[in-house]
């Protein structure tokens, strides 16, 4: 590392002329500012029109969107004009960054504002700033806390899913015929929409009177197979349906991990006469640990978004026992059109998720470092 600039050098190094024509540079700046002024003017006109200060304007805010897109393109193009070769490189990530900023950051800032308002879309009063009222309301909302508590149960279920997925991956990795057939059939549940699953399994197979699963349960001696009547059983049923769709996902990731195990290690262990069970716990499982933890973390991320099945099968019932945070906010919006309160709930949820995921990822990477 004699050269201090070494770090700044790109992996793909391009020798480019550093001189850029002054005139092109000026055109670049002009383009950006021109587009910005155009956007600003349109925005101003529309704002004045909306607040009835002037009598002419557009039907909606769409023109502002178009001018915003134009402005974004202008920035991109001017980067090439101003910075030359360096600008061309920036153009690789610029569209994606711009896209995320437009669709995530703007709505988030806007959402932060509406979370402090009392805004009911169905009432004519419009929005009212009400400070921390939504927050206080949330603190004393038993259903919200209940849905958070349910999320803990749902996330704990990931461990069971992981165990099943690992077992299936081991099965698929052993010496079997028809491997492709089994792999495809194991994969198929992942293809089905949670909505289709909620009818196919939740509404028909688990149907109390004549669903095949209920019939089977009756034959096995469960007198009254009501899958959605008691809170605990309903929650377990939802977990099972969600697991059914997502186990293939974990299974494929774990299978990929198993297939990339170093063959020599396994051979050496077999030569040494290690039998199956210790071979698994002492060798395969430790080597698989990084892949396993990645799989679990990704699965938890998906689990935190769980809603579709709950919304369409139980609508959170009985008594909120199966509610997830997402499905609760969904009903809060659908039934009461309460945008301000719903947004506050979702932001608190986001903060909890960020804290939880940060701790989890920190913990996982610490753990992996100690193992290594």
């Amino acid at each position: 590392m004699a050269n201090p600039n070494f770090i700044d050098r790109d992996p793909l190094y391009v020798v480019a002329p550093s001189y850029i024509n002054k005139k092109t540079k000026r055109i670049g700046h002009l383009l950006v500012w021109g587009a910005f002024i155009l956007m600003f003017t349109i925005g101003l006109i529309q704002a004045l029109y909306t607040f009835e200060k002037i009598s002419f304007g557009f039907n909606n805010w769409r023109p502002l969107l178009y001018s915003y897109i134009f402005w974004a393109f202008a920035i991109g193009y001017s980067k090439v004009l101003i910075h030359g070769e360096k600008g061309k490189r920036a153009l690789f990530i610029f569209p994606a960054v711009m896209f995320i900023i437009s669709i995530v950051i703007f709505p988030m800032i806007f959402g932060l504002y509406i979370s402090f308002t009392d805004w009911n879309l169905s009432s004519f009063d419009g929005r009212k700033f009400n400070g921390l009222d939504n927050f206080y309301q949330m603190m004393s909302d038993p259903y919200y806390w209940n849905s958070l508590k349910n999320m803990v149960y749902y996330i704990l279920a990931v461990i069971v899913e992981f165990a099943i997925a690992f077992g299936l991956a081991l099965l698929l990795n052993s010496q079997i015929r028809l491997r492709k057939f089994f792999r495809v059939s194991f994969l198929i549940p992942l293809m089905l929409s949670p909505i289709a699953v909620s009818w196919m399994i939740g509404k028909s197979m688990l149907e109390f009177r004549f669903g095949p699963a209920a019939t089977l349960a009756r034959n096995l001696g469960w007198e009254n197979p009501a899958f959605f009547a008691s809170p605990e059983i309903a929650r377990i049923t939802i977990m099972t349906m969600d697991a059914w769709t997502y186990i293939p996902f974990m299974m494929i990731m774990l299978l990929a991990g198993l297939q990339s195990l170093p063959k020599e290690v396994l051979e050496a262990a077999k030569v040494d006469g290690a039998s199956k069970w210790p071979l698994f716990w002492k060798i395969i499982f430790p080597i698989m640990l990084p892949v396993s933890l990645t799989t679990i973390v990704i699965r938890i991320i998906f689990k935190l978004k769980l809603a579709d099945i709950v919304i369409s099968v139980t609508a959170g019932g009985p008594g909120g026992a199966t509610d997830t945070v997402t499905s609760f906010i969904y009903r809060e919006y659908r039934d009461r059109s309460n945008v301000g309160y719903g947004t506050m709930l979702s932001f608190i949820y986001l903060i909890i998720i960020i804290i939880f995921m940060t701790i989890l990822i920190r913990f996982v990477s610490k753990f992996l470092q100690r193992e290594a």
């Binding site: 700044d8 793909l12 070769e85 569209p95 669709i103 995530v104 077992g167 929409s193």
Partner: protein
Amino acid sequence: MKSNFYEKIIIYGLLLFWTFICLFPIYWTATTSFKTAVNVTQGHLIPWIDFTPSWKGWRNLGLSPGTIFTDSMPRREFFSRFLNTFIISASASALAVLLGSCAAYGLSRFNYKFGPMRNPDISFFFLSQLILPPVVLALPVLILYKELSLVDTKIGMILLYTLTVLPIVIWIMRDQFNAIPIELEEAALVDGSSVWGAFIKIVLPIVVPGLVSAFILCLILCWNEYFLAALITSTHAITLPVMVASQISSQSIAWWNMAAISGAMCVPLIIIAIVLEKYIVKGMAAGAIKG
């Protein structure tokens, strides 16, 4: 030798058991769509032995042999939803693959400085979008869309779906690009091609399988997405999951109809799973190995 034999039996037994668990709901849905009321209530399972298949469910959807050539309202509705779903999910996936692969390539080849943010921070910025639950964005976006009159439009849905799958594309494609030796592009640059020329002519053709994997994974996720679609769409841009969900909640709908609709909704993806299984597995495996 003997223990090996028993082991084989256990392995195949477990494999067949799980195959049954995976496929029975699909079998059940497929057969139910050919049942009539009596067969449903008596829990008949095997066609031609237990019950005589009837086209009733499919006739109501306008897809039975008798009705396929006549005009049918439900079929027209179904296909318009089907087309919506296809257009939205295919365009969103294509857009995500386009934006995502460019970004992933940039991150794997150049060092960026964006204020205090370096490459790892920018990567994290992209991937952290995966953690963001859709419910956080849903309500603010809904209100902004109302102002922009993007509610219930395909464009609005495409933009949102692109956002939800973009991190996945970047994640898959970053590994793909990292696996390609830089010397390839250096040779092209020496020959006088520009950075973008080298990217399009040399690098992209190599990663086509990776692009296909990413595209299919995105397509699956978008096709099945329900939550955002339920909030943003109301009449024109309704997707299949929303249509099926609204049928589920109306109690009066007959079983054979529901089975036909939810079956027909899943058929394209089941075909994709069978034909393109290799790519799906590859896409998901890409994330696992790297960690």
